[in-house]
Symmetry: C2
Amino acid sequence: MYRTFIALTVAAALCQAQRPASSNIPVAEYPKIHDDLRVTFRLSAPLAQKVQMQPGGGDNGLGKGPFDMVKDEKGFWTVTIPSAQPGFHYYWLLVDGFQTNDPSSETFFGWNRETSGVEVPDKVDFYEPKTVPHGDVRARWYLSKTTGQWRRAYIYTPPDYDKNPGARYPVLYLQHGSGENERGWSTQGRVNFILDNLIAAKKAKPMIVVMENGMVGNKVFGDVVMNDLIPMIDDEYRTLKNREHRAIAGLSMGGGQALQIGLTHLDQFAYIGSFSGAIRDFDLKTSYGGVFADAAGFNKKVRLLWFGAGTSEERMHTAAQQAHETLDKGGIKNVFYECRFAHEWQTWRYDLLDFAPRLFR
Amino acid sequence: MYRTFIALTVAAALCQAQRPASSNIPVAEYPKIHDDLRVTFRLSAPLAQKVQMQPGGGDNGLGKGPFDMVKDEKGFWTVTIPSAQPGFHYYWLLVDGFQTNDPSSETFFGWNRETSGVEVPDKVDFYEPKTVPHGDVRARWYLSKTTGQWRRAYIYTPPDYDKNPGARYPVLYLQHGSGENERGWSTQGRVNFILDNLIAAKKAKPMIVVMENGMVGNKVFGDVVMNDLIPMIDDEYRTLKNREHRAIAGLSMGGGQALQIGLTHLDQFAYIGSFSGAIRDFDLKTSYGGVFADAAGFNKKVRLLWFGAGTSEERMHTAAQQAHETLDKGGIKNVFYECRFAHEWQTWRYDLLDFAPRLFR
């Protein structure tokens, strides 16, 4: 009995020492995550002369790369990289210079294509599935008058949506970044688990979250949101159809879009968030149609103007901080939030964790 | 004006002569489909010595392959293959022998990994989006007691589901094939458009369709369906919770699973379908626990036992036809349906088109 216990303990320890990333396809052993967050990548390419692992982007939490992989006698190429930052990181492989996905990874739409990604665990569980009531993430197709094409929205409905058919809910419009699409927030971002957990803990109000594809140019996207998407959502879902119950936010490019759409349609939105937003210098008199010129009027109308950035993403952090300070000087109420991560999804998960509880209060 | 008209007509003709496949990622021009259904593939790989396009599987409607691609001076490799069969086809590229996805294609889970696919248009529109009311395809996570893990079901809810909160609906459990997953029927199979269109035309009853991941072994999957999935669905969705309002079907491996689960749980299912099912010789006395031994009793209980296959998939067609004939001889009422396609999603879309209208009558 005691021996069994020791054996199990040792097995558990060995097992925990390195385990397949949760972003792998089923059965795939690699990428493997070590306890100290080193990550081992492996690829079978017996005919290749040179194979490298390339993290997606210069400030990616996997390090700078490319990392040379080493071939064994069976044709497997392997590399173990130094401890990575927690969170989701895009990457790809270079096989004799040809950029390819890792066949062991699920794919995630980023960098304007389907891309490999690795989920490095954090010591927090706010974006993990728990035994709490779960909402659905729905895919809904609709015909856009603006583009003349069928488009797909992803829609999170909160856990009690189906069980309270008389209830109506506020709506957060939530956008991905450049090169991503409407699936980003539910796969890379885990919006559903974050909200399930916040709602179960009564830290956030039950809300609908709508995610669309912003890669159509800012002008067209603004028209799609205002003329096609919001009317469709208000028609097809049990929403509260007024500005006090409508928020808009986004990350990076989507943060810029959220500010542009939200601040120029204050009759439609009372809550606005920019997560590592692609934002320019704010001019209190002229930016966004001069909406900041009357601070008292703005503060009376806007319930939340929120800026977030990671301290490891210098450019976006500086931009968000400057916007915050400029607005503070102009007497515009706003929130500035920072976490320690880079221009990646871990920052935006933390952003949502801070942002969502402030909505619809 | 007249000149403009001619120019536009010519442009339209040129434009129609070859157009990007609907399965491409946004903006990608290739794969291109020609009017005669030839398909042109293209890849940028300036450093490669040899590039080929490989259709997924021996009876794939793209032809047998591999097809050698030809390099131009800019490093683009191109091939135009002979007219393809309509429908969705898996494929990949071989870059100096290394199997890789086409970066221009969306990825689809098949062949046990994320795989490229090309949608070749047909002259039918039963699986295209139309201006009819649309249902949602929902992703729902739940904790499986059988496996101890979080699992994800995809759930189609019909167009009127949200608007008739007092209504309850029958449920079709619908499974993918080997190497695929719970996303297959909504991406490759277009289950939502097929049902939206059938329901709008009043050819099928409004129904919920539940899709799960069967790649866990048949025994485990049967336990997941009976002990975890059905109870969760009946608890979380407005279902009609009895055998007369519950169907099970699947394709290939999933067809075998549907027969196994359905025929051994006739207290739970009254409608059973096998689409190109992986089925063995039927023995009227012993198969599926002897369920066919009492033909009169079986016929009284089972409202539909349906077999489908494509005439271009010899093995599965023979198996389905033999099952049909054996059951006919034994006096077991059953339906045998055939279409002209191969062991591919086009067959299974047609199967669903015939099968769904027969349910819950």
